[in-house]
């Protein structure tokens, strides 16, 4: 059977805004937990666009890919790459970890056109104007919330899954409410219950990829 690849996008641009690696570290831990839950039969590719493109293996089953930037984005969250379609052509599922980066929006567009299953993590924060205005979370196959409180606030017809994960997204440096692109950035540490979150996410991915394959058959 073809090994499964899941693309993680989003949050990574926040590190450019805050000058930290907190978002990347969070996603790597989450990815490692998912890979472990899958018995190392799954690859998670963390994708962003940046000035130093490249691809490196972080740990078994976790790959970090930086795509070449298209143009010179005005804000970290406006980064995009013409190579994104190619990068997504080799994945089975797309998980967007924020609802406000342009690369995430582009990935959503490409993934839906490619009939790839999409998960979007919803933190319950006002994000990018485009995502909020268009209600882009409604395009997700599954909306992931890290707390039941956020899940309860959602008014959506989409499947919502609570994947407990003790994470305060504002610590990752999310963009402020538009038009101001200020950064909410608290310095205290991030603590997560990665193992349980990984198992839960893996189960969701398996179900989505399984139903996509079924539909295609």
């Amino acid at each position: 059977m073809k090994p499964i690849t899941v693309a993680y996008l989003g949050l990574l641009d926040n590190d450019r805004a805050t000058g930290t690696r907190r978002a990347e570290e969070h996603l790597i831990r989450l990815a490692q937990a998912v890979v472990a839950a899958a018995g190392f039969g799954l690859t998670v590719e963390l994708i962003s666009a940046g000035e130093t493109p490249g691809r490196q293996t972080v740990s078994a089953g976790v790959v970090r890919t930086v795509l070449p930037l298209a143009g010179n984005p005005q804000a970290p969250w406006n980064a995009v790459s013409w190579q994104l379609p190619e990068a997504l052509s080799r994945v089975d599922l797309v998980h967007l970890h924020d609802g406000y980066s342009r690369l995430g929006e582009a990935a959503l567009l490409i993934a839906k056109q490619s009939h790839l299953p999409v998960c979007i993590t919803e933190y319950g924060l006002t994000g990018h104007w485009l995502s909020s205005e268009l209600g882009l979370a409604e395009l997700a196959d599954v909306i992931i919330c890290h707390t039941p409180q956020v899940a309860r606030r959602l008014t959506t017809g989409r499947t919502v899954e609570v994947v407990p994960c003790k994470l305060d997204p504002s610590r990752l440096g999310i963009p402020g409410v538009p038009p101001r692109q200020t950064i909410h950035d608290r310095q205290d540490g991030v603590s997560t219950d990665d193992r349980a979150a990984g198992e839960r996410l893996f189960a969701i991915y398996q179900r989505l990829i399984g139903s996509t394959l079924e539909a295609a058959a």
């Binding site: 298209a70 143009g71 010179n72 984005p73 005005q74 406006n78 995009v80 013409w82 190579q83 379609p85 190619e86 052509s89 342009r102 929006e105 582009a106 959503l108 567009l109 490409i110 839906k112 056109q113 490619s114 485009l130 268009l134 209600g135 882009l136 409604e138 395009l139 017809g157």
Partner: protein
């Protein structure tokens, strides 16, 4: 069959042969008992209403050179993205029509100006079967930014878009693919056509000593080789030929071209006669007012309806040797093909004037083959079969636009693509500024 036709323009609002052909096919399909609805743009000037025509699309007027050239660079880029990439309003109009009309198949024509990528993306997303008449390289034109095809869009188009294409010549298919856009699915060449009843055979043809009456019709621009035709007239006179006339019908797009006959001293032989309705032109061919139809068009000409009409009535086509229509007719059997220079055109006209080329057999053979193989009555069954083949591919389930979330998702994606493309253009513009 229930057929939804998408076209950027629809007569009486039209620019050229693309839209006129669209109306002819629609009328023929209606006459054959199909249920046809045309979805097109708001007319550029008032048009009378028609039951089967909905003029609800918004046209980003990429055809209005004055408008385009006088726009600010940012406005121009935004207009261009709405014209070729995506216009969410038009996707909404399409979704609405799909839901109301419930077509078996969508028949695509020229999608430039409508945000064609968005429309085709929407149909692909919803698995709506379609057939695409390609009177020009529209798929690759939709993947452009400015004059260049964006490899990322060409690649995505090649990977995602799949259906039945009906280009009017191999040249069109080749040009699209050479731009990096692969036509996935089925590609079936189908020429343009003539309409009406076959007239009695022409009995009088040009004889040496007569005045050779040359005509050309269409857009009067250099890309159509009108300058070459005027220069050929000058060469003919230099070579001592006076017994010829060249009548040119159509809108002159360049003022320097209008002056050219006088500049070259052939204004007694070459006349720009302005725009002429199609019916009137056909009437002139029927009355055998001309001997030769000159078509020195650019080599990328997809087909060329005007010469076909003229040849159907006994006018011999003298054409660029590798333009679209030249694929369908044989040199020295049905027509005369030549290199695209004034010198070569003058050579051909000179040989006719001297009696070295007899026009009568060429005209008779071309007329016979056109009325037999290029009449819409002959072509239409091919079109119907393609439409039926596409319709049969339709899923047995409920139509995608009626499934929960199907149309909503498609519209959200169109809005996302529309706004994303504008955001990218604004970013690029800000950097440039």
């Amino acid at each position: 069959m229930r057929i939804l036709v998408l076209s950027n323009l629809y007569p009486p609002d039209f620019i050229g042969g693309y839209e006129l052909c669209c109306r002819q096919v629609v009328d023929a399909l209606l006459a054959r008992g199909h249920d046809v609805q045309v979805l097109t743009s708001s007319p550029r000037t008032p048009c009378p209403p028609a039951d089967h025509v909905l003029r609800q699309f918004e046209l980003s007027n990429c055809y209005d050179a004055h408008d385009v050239l006088n726009s600010l660079p940012l406005t121009r880029k935004v207009l261009e993205s709405k014209a070729v990439w995506v216009n969410a309003h038009n996707v909404h109009v399409l979704l609405d029509s799909l839901a109301r009309f419930e077509p078996d198949v969508v028949y695509l024509w020229n999608l430039l100006g409508l945000g064609g990528l968005g429309l085709i993306g929407c149909l692909q997303h919803l698995d709506v079967p379609w057939v695409w008449y390609l009177g020009d390289c529209v798929p690759s034109m939709l993947c452009r930014r400015g004059e260049e095809v964006l490899p990322v869009l060409a690649e995505q188009f090649s990977r995602r878009v799949n259906g039945i294409y009906m280009p009017v010549s191999q040249r069109v298919a080749d040009e699209i693919e050479s731009a990096g856009v692969r036509l996935n699915g089925q590609v079936e060449l189908l020429p343009n056509w003539v309409l009406g009843e076959q007239p009695p055979q022409r009995t009088r043809y040009f004889q040496p000593g007569d005045t050779l009456r040359i005509v050309s019709a269409g857009q009067m621009g250099r890309h159509k080789g009108i300058d070459l035709l005027v220069e050929a007239a000058a060469l003919l006179r230099q070579r001592g030929h006076e017994n010829f006339s060249i009548d040119l019908f159509g809108k002159v797009s360049e003022s320097s071209l209008a002056e050219l006959p006088r500049t070259l001293g052939v204004d007694t032989h070459v006349t720009f006669r302005g725009v002429c309705p199609q019916e009137e032109l056909v009437g002139r061919y029927e009355r055998h007012e001309y001997d030769v139809f000159a078509f020195p068009t650019w080599e990328r000409e997809p087909f060329g309806c005007a010469p076909l009409e003229a040849a159907a009535h006994g006018c011999v086509i003298v054409m660029t040797q590798s333009c679209g229509i030249s694929e369908w007719l044989v040199h020295d059997v049905h027509c005369l093909k030549t290199a695209r220079t004034a010198e070569h055109l003058a050579d051909v006209f000179g040989r006719i004037l001297q009696g070295a080329i007899d026009l009568a057999p060429l005209a008779r053979r071309a007329s016979a083959v056109i009325w037999r193989d290029f009449h819409l009555d002959t072509i239409l069954p091919h079109i119907e079969r393609a439409l039926m083949r596409a319709a049969r591919q339709k899923s047995c389930d409920a139509p995608a636009w009626s499934r929960q979330g199907g149309a909503d998702d498609a519209y959200r994606l169109a809005l996302l693509a529309d706004k994303l493309s504008r955001a990218l253009i604004h970013d690029q513009h800000t950097q440039a500024a």
